[in-house]
Symmetry: C2
Subunit: 160 residues, 2 copies
């Protein structure tokens, strides 16, 4: 089904993409094994439109351990000075496959992962959104499935 | 029981208080009625040490409606440029009592709450922490109950 975008829809979608692609960071929300919500700040520069996002991290870290038990997560992008926020809801897949680990590996990462790109403590989280709620000065609302998929063809790295 | 603080403990506690008191904003994490974690950015300038925090907000907003059904919440303070983060875990109490609403009322709030300080859509969230996990360049760890209560005598407003 093709969605008919109004000019306001297109402007909002473009602003939300700019918020996400230029953020550099995101807050990931998860539920710990005691059923409590928790948040961590993560680097997040790899995006497939608004639909999916990659995050390199330590397998041993608490949030990865909890996400392996409960995949439900949210990813929040915000710009307080512009009063913009986007809360994506979805799930996290923990990747140990070389194709993901090689894609996100950067020079200097040996500092965090002494064994290099095959270090077992190095993994890549893929967050996949199934819905999204935005807060902007122009108003708040929910993203449609079409908006989430808009331009979401492949993962690309963006400069914050 | 009196905790014996080392100099490093005192320095860390002081840095975490500065992070919280100068932040101006926080991210509140909650669980929605579908069991999904969710995050909202909120103004947060009223603190009772690291233990409790007040947030003025709209009763009708989605996160308040969800927090009335499930009080479990977290409050996350961060400074990305300094690589500091503090995730407090606890619960939220929704206050409609005049003493809370009057304490946080500010000139110009009529813009959001046309009925003034008694507007039913105006309420104050009190977040009370029972644990906290910090992430700093010096290391990560958990706050003790004594650290959470340190200097937490009364609510004060801080300038970000």
């Amino acid at each position: 089904m093709i969605q008919q975008y109004t000019e306001a829809d297109r402007k909002r979608l473009s602003e939300l993409k700019e918020l996400v692609f230029k953020s550099g960071f995101a807050d990931i929300g998860f539920i710990d094994s005691m059923g409590r919500p928790s948040i961590r700040r993560v680097f997040c520069t790899w995006h497939r439109g608004l639909k999916a996002h990659l995050i390199s991290t330590n397998t041993s870290s608490l949030h990865v351990q909890e996400l392996m038990k409960n995949e439900k997560a949210c990813l929040y992008f915000e710009n307080s000075s512009q009063f913009k926020g986007l809360c994506l809801s979805g799930k996290v897949i923990v990747h140990h496959e070389p194709e993901y680990k090689e894609l996100l590996w950067e020079e200097g990462n040996e500092k965090y992962y002494p064994q290099g790109v095959t270090d077992e403590d190095y993994c890549v989280l893929e967050f996949v959104a199934d819905s999204g709620r935005y807060y902007m000065s122009l108003g708040k609302g929910d993203l449609t499935a079409e908006e989430l998929e808009d331009g979401a063809t492949e993962f690309k790295q963006y400069q914050a």
